[in-house]
Amino acid sequence: MMLDRLAADNDGTDAAAGSSPVDIRTLVTDHHREVFRYAYRLVGRQDDAEDLTQQTFMLAQQRLSQLRHPDRARGWLFAILRNCYRKAVSRPMPLAATGLALDVDSIPDTVAGQTFDQETLQAALDALSDEFKLVVVMFYFEQRSYKEIAEQLQIPIGTVMSRLTRAKSRLRACLLNPSGHSQGRRGTAP
């Protein structure tokens, strides 16, 4: 299974392992907040994020023996979550191509002074197609490098870089020029 392979290869797990040095209750206590927040960034709704969080820990419980390095539990849980999410989403939303040079140049001179609220940020994320959203959340939330993202998602590095650029162009357009872009909302911030 892809889930097993991803977990075994990239997140300190061992598919042939017999037992894990951590128990699931500890994982829940230590990581449920981060897992929920990560899920929320992907699905944009509190109830769906809770469901995704629960599904993640249920699967983690079943595969707990594969987790050999407790210090990498966070990444392992995120990998499970991403797989649950990818399995759940069925209708990818196309993202309109945007002029890359124009978008980069459109960043205001003083970005540091810009502010936008959580609702606007989530709306911008929700407007992204699922494949772009995954890359963006891995980049910003997990702070994964483009190489790690490519490895985790098993896609070429060039594809990751292209998706990052297009998704971030869209984000910048939504967040730094909100009046010029209308975005659909699928949920409200918790």
Binding site: Q54, C84, A88, L100, Y140, Y146
Partner: protein, 291 residues
Amino acid sequence: MSERRHFEAIDACRPNSDDLRQPEMADLAEALQVDPRLGSNYQRSQEFDAIVVRMMPDLPVPDGLEERLLLALTTSQDADRESREAGEWFDDNCRTKGQAVQPRAAREHVPATARDGVGRRPRGRRWAWTLAAASLVAAGAVAAVLVLAPSFTAIEPRADEQLPREILAWVDAVVREGWNTDFEAERVRRRPLDLAVRATPRRWCSIRTRYDPQTAVYDVSSRDADFALAFCMDAPVRTSLLPEIPPWNPQPATGGLTVGVWRRGNLVYVLACRGGTRRYRELIEGTSLIG
């Protein structure tokens, strides 16, 4: 490196990281030194990314989430244990019956051939051999019926003491399977949600049960902490007197669930929810008679 590639490389650099020192970024690092416009873009991109990185995890977590997760995990463990116990019971019983039949068949066969020897069998002996073979076949058939009968007769879930135990295993299967929101799928059309259920399904999935390998499961929960699932199975052969409408009086099940079972034509429905009889009746209100 083209301008487009430069922009992609800029966007691939994380804020406050050494990404720019990676070998693949050598061209960009060089270009940043000689192209002020590119350098400015890089700086602004880094500032923007730093803001988003700060905001990303800044979300409140719902009250009681940890407790709800731990409860769900405990419930799932209970279901696993009960499924294992049920499986062991089935294996033990099947194995016992199979082993009881085989030695008897062997005993009936061996003496007949041993007595006959290698020469021409007398007519009386041939009749005896035929009779023994017929007995063997009959014994095998009886044994097969004894072993397989439970799986053939259990073609319709019944609201007895077994179903509530199975429900938790089904819930566990739902968790493993994951949800789908495409309500146009063929599997959903073949096993639609009964109109007697007064809730709008949020999502569905298909799981294997021993009654129907493509059992449809609908999430009919309405609130954040709500739990309500409707299972729909294609079970054309009736083996019990299930009501034609949702029973007004449900039965309790393991894991704090409340369960009601009914049949509509060839389809059998199982509604399982948390919140007791009150919540169950909310889900079927106005569609059922007292039963």
